[in-house]
């Protein structure tokens, strides 16, 4: 065996998968996982651990897999993460743990993500109980939002003995894991639900259909419901539009709407009521993971799909693996292209989109070369659906209904190094603080805030609550 080459992983055939919502990547078998795990050098300085936002001791769990001790591997993961089956699938490992893997210097990094996924899937399929909690300490913590940040914060606090209640605005917990990321990357019933069930096994209570800022407020939770601290992990769910003419035509959707209809409301299934409109020719505007997800969803619903992106392939913010999958499935890319107008027909439906070609100029504040329009390059192409995947920003509802909660000019909640906001006892993390980022960064922030909350409560009230 060549130590510098990854054990290949099986995926669904591109032609076949383009018309179904089943998971694309099929995961390792036990033999494959053990073979891949054996590639790990178990290096002493293990740089991979430092590059994991939740600090998973990667060589430890991988060593267990190499020796066929899959249950032990799952236990190691559970010490650090509440969502290993999710993270193994959706983390951008190439920019994190796998980026610094020593094997990557001369060959291919260890498939850390795929091994994490394997261990988590194996534990679930074999009903391994992973959660252990300390004795209850009597303190109550409210977690706002059940996305990756909230789940991680809640899980860590529950393990420490806190009485945790998660408040979720939608009817299903999971945040972006249920409404945003599609089935073919992250199966809901098989993967997301069991990880949320694990959280409940730790004693975490989840109240769905509660919108903080409307149904209850931060102040009512603190003053009337007796919570000792609050974690805000409400994400960045507010979609951006371009502000160009024609954006309110029928057939123009935010990626959030398109994906929510499909993923959360299961519009792709005949037996569910929520409708979804996908025309025969779809333009998805943007180049991030959300754009790839929307494009690949539209493709599976039967459309011909173009991604319209203003920079080049090299600058695409989406994961390399997802771009590769999208291209394999037949998504077409219009690089260096930006829409300037959406044109409608007399009934108010999208008929075409007018774009202009771009060229890359000087680097901007983010260090990426700024796209600049080429004069006279305007062109029009026929589409009947346009999906805007331009990014999202935090919802202003909680700051607007909470006195003294400081936000910055990007509407993000401001926190200190412990994750505490300008309101005492109120912590925040994830996209609500950073703006739209990744699942694993939100988890890291949730973990950090859990430590901050633990420190805050114990300094203020002692080790145990008065009975």
């Amino acid at each position: 065996m060549d130590r510098f080459k990854r054990v290949p992983i099986s995926v669904q055939d591109p032609v076949e998968r383009a018309s179904n919502f089943d998971e694309v990547c099929l995961g390792y078998t036990e033999e494959e996982a053990m073979a891949e795990a054996k590639r790990c050098l178990n290096c002493k300085h293990h740089p991979c651990v430092g590059n994991c936002p939740v600090g998973i001791h990667i060589p430890r769990f991988i060593k267990h897999i190499a020796e066929g001790e899959f249950e032990e591997a799952a236990h190691v993961l559970a010490e650090y993460t509440a969502l290993p089956a999710v993270c193994g699938r959706v983390c951008p490992q190439e920019e994190q743990c796998e980026q610094v893997c020593v094997l990557g210097i001369k060959g291919e990094a260890v498939s850390i993500g795929k091994l994490e996924r394997f261990a988590a899937d194996w534990a679930r399929e074999h009903n391994v109980e992973v959660g252990k909690t300390k004795e209850k300490n009597g303190f109550k913590v409210a977690v706002i939002g059940s996305g990756p940040a909230g789940i991680t914060c809640a899980g860590d606090l529950a393990k420490e003995g806190y009485d945790v209640t998660i408040f979720e605005a939608l009817h299903e917990p999971g945040g972006v894991l249920v409404y945003g990321i599609p089935e073919f990357r992250l199966p809901k019933e098989a993967v997301v639900k069991p990880e949320i069930e694990n959280l409940k096994k730790l004693g975490v209570k989840i109240e769905t259909n509660v919108i903080v800022g409307r149904t209850v407020t931060i102040d009512s939770l603190l003053d009337e419901e007796g919570f000792h601290a609050i974690f805000i992990g409400s994400g960045a769910g507010l979609p951006r539009f371009m502000g160009i003419s024609g954006e309110n035509l029928n057939g123009v959707f935010s990626a959030n709407e398109f994906l929510t209809r499909n993923n959360l409301m299961k519009a792709f299934r005949e037996d569910y009521d929520t409708p979804i409109k996908v025309g025969s020719k779809v333009a998805v505007i943007g180049g991030g993971n959300v754009a790839m997800d929307a494009a690949r969803t539209a493709l599976r619903l039967g459309a011909e799909v173009w991604i319209v992106y203003r920079r080049t392939e090299a600058e695409l913010p989406a994961r390399v693996e997802e771009v590769h999958h999208a291209m394999e499935e037949g998504i077409k890319f219009e690089f260096l292209t930006s829409p300037i107008e959406i044109v409608g027909n007399e009934d108010g439906w999208v008929k075409s989109i007018r774009c202009q070609r771009m060229e890359l100029g000087e680097p901007d504040a983010s260090g990426r070369r700024r796209p600049e329009p080429i004069i006279g390059s305007e062109f029009e192409f026929d589409v009947d659906t346009v999906i805007m995947a331009l990014g999202t920003s935090p919802n202003p509802l909680i700051p607007a209904t909470t006195a003294g909660l400081e936000i910055n000019n990007r509407k993000c909640i401001v926190v200190d190094e412990d994750g505490q906001t300008s309101r005492e006892g109120v912590f925040a993390g994830g996209d609500a603080v950073t703006g739209a980022a990744t699942v694993i960064l939100a988890m890291g922030a949730g973990k950090q805030a859990a430590e901050g909350i633990d420190k805050y409560i114990k300094e203020k009230y002692g080790e145990k609550a008065n009975a």
Binding site: G237, N248, N250, D271, P275, K277, G348
Partner: protein
């Protein structure tokens, strides 16, 4: 799960339900709405809050059976459960947070169409509880579709009824009755608040603009989440894009682009008809979804 503690027939295909939802009841204010999911396969349907009882912890909704989901809701009985019931959503009506002495100085006319009478009721009651008499117009196609007449009469200054076929009250549309009151009878109003089908609100606004009366409408575009995360409900108000679920649902009616809103509301008509066929229903005449919405 949210229990249906009381169910009443108001008119053919229109029913009223009290739902046990203490958190919603505790926070509800006039002008706000809820989102309901009937069962596992159901869609999220926005419905305006029609009444609420903080002590009993109940919220009243009124539903007209139109599409697949609303028909399934209407078929439920007392003691059954709705799968999801979330709210209160949207901003409360402006007057709720204004100086009450200023509110008292205004002469207000409510104009309700069809099941729009249901969400108008808690607003009229709010004025009544603050010692203010407001006039109310309730319009419907025909006499048997007039709902909540007695309840509204009890809390309104004057209640005027209009039916399209003249079977009860004023013979004609609500706009005809507004003209009758303002132009012929010389009544003066500083504010009109109108809730009903989009097309009715459009014509009310065209008339009140001519008459120079400020008008607030409660818009009912298609919604999905109702919390501001998708923009399905976006409307153009004074040349700006607004999300009705968080910026509204109430807006200055003279600034709303009704033609765009009407087109957007019809976006899923074809799918609705397909869905209705699948459920072996004959036809679907609706806006997607429910009473005040969807």
């Amino acid at each position: 799960m949210y229990k249906i503690v009381e169910k009443k027939d108001l008119a053919p295909n229109i029913i009223s339900m009290d739902i046990l939802a203490p958190r919603v009841a505790n926070s509800a204010q006039p002008g706000q709405f809820v989102i309901v999911i009937v069962d596992e396969e159901g869609e999220r349907i926005p419905l305006t809050i029609c009444n609420y009882d903080k002590e009993k912890g109940t919220v009243n909704i009124v539903i007209q059976a139109m599409g697949s989901s609303t028909k399934r809701i209407v078929a439920l009985d007392e003691g059954d459960y709705l799968k999801d019931f979330v709210g209160p959503l949207g901003r409360p009506s402006d007057y709720v947070n204004e100086d009450i002495e200023e509110v008292k100085k205004q002469k207000v006319l409510f104009v309700a169409g069809g099941v729009g009478a249901a969400p108008v009721f808690p607003q009229v009651r709010w004025f009544h509880e603050h010692g203010i008499d407001v006039d109310v117009i309730v319009g419907a196609k025909t006499k048997e579709l007039i709902i909540l007449e007695d309840e509204i009469k009890e809390v309104a200054g004057n209640l005027y009824i209009a039916t399209d076929d003249g079977s009860y009250g004023f013979n004609g549309m609500v706009t005809g009755l507004i003209e009758e009151l303002v132009v012929n009878q010389g009544k003066e109003y500083d504010l009109v608040i109108s809730i009903g089908p989009m097309i009715m609100m459009k014509f009310v606004c065209l008339l009140t603009k001519k008459l120079g009366i400020k008008t607030v409408v409660s818009l009912n575009p298609i919604m999905v989440d109702g919390t501001g995360m998708c923009g399905a409900c976006r409307v153009t108000v004074g040349n700006e894009t607004k999300f009705a679920c968080v910026d509204g649902p109430e807006f200055d009616g003279h600034l709303v682009d009704f033609d765009e809103a009407l087109k957007r509301q019809a976006q899923y008509k074809k799918e609705e008809i397909e869905l209705a066929k699948r459920g072996q229903e004959k036809t679907c005449t609706c806006q997607h979804g429910g009473v005040h919405n969807g």
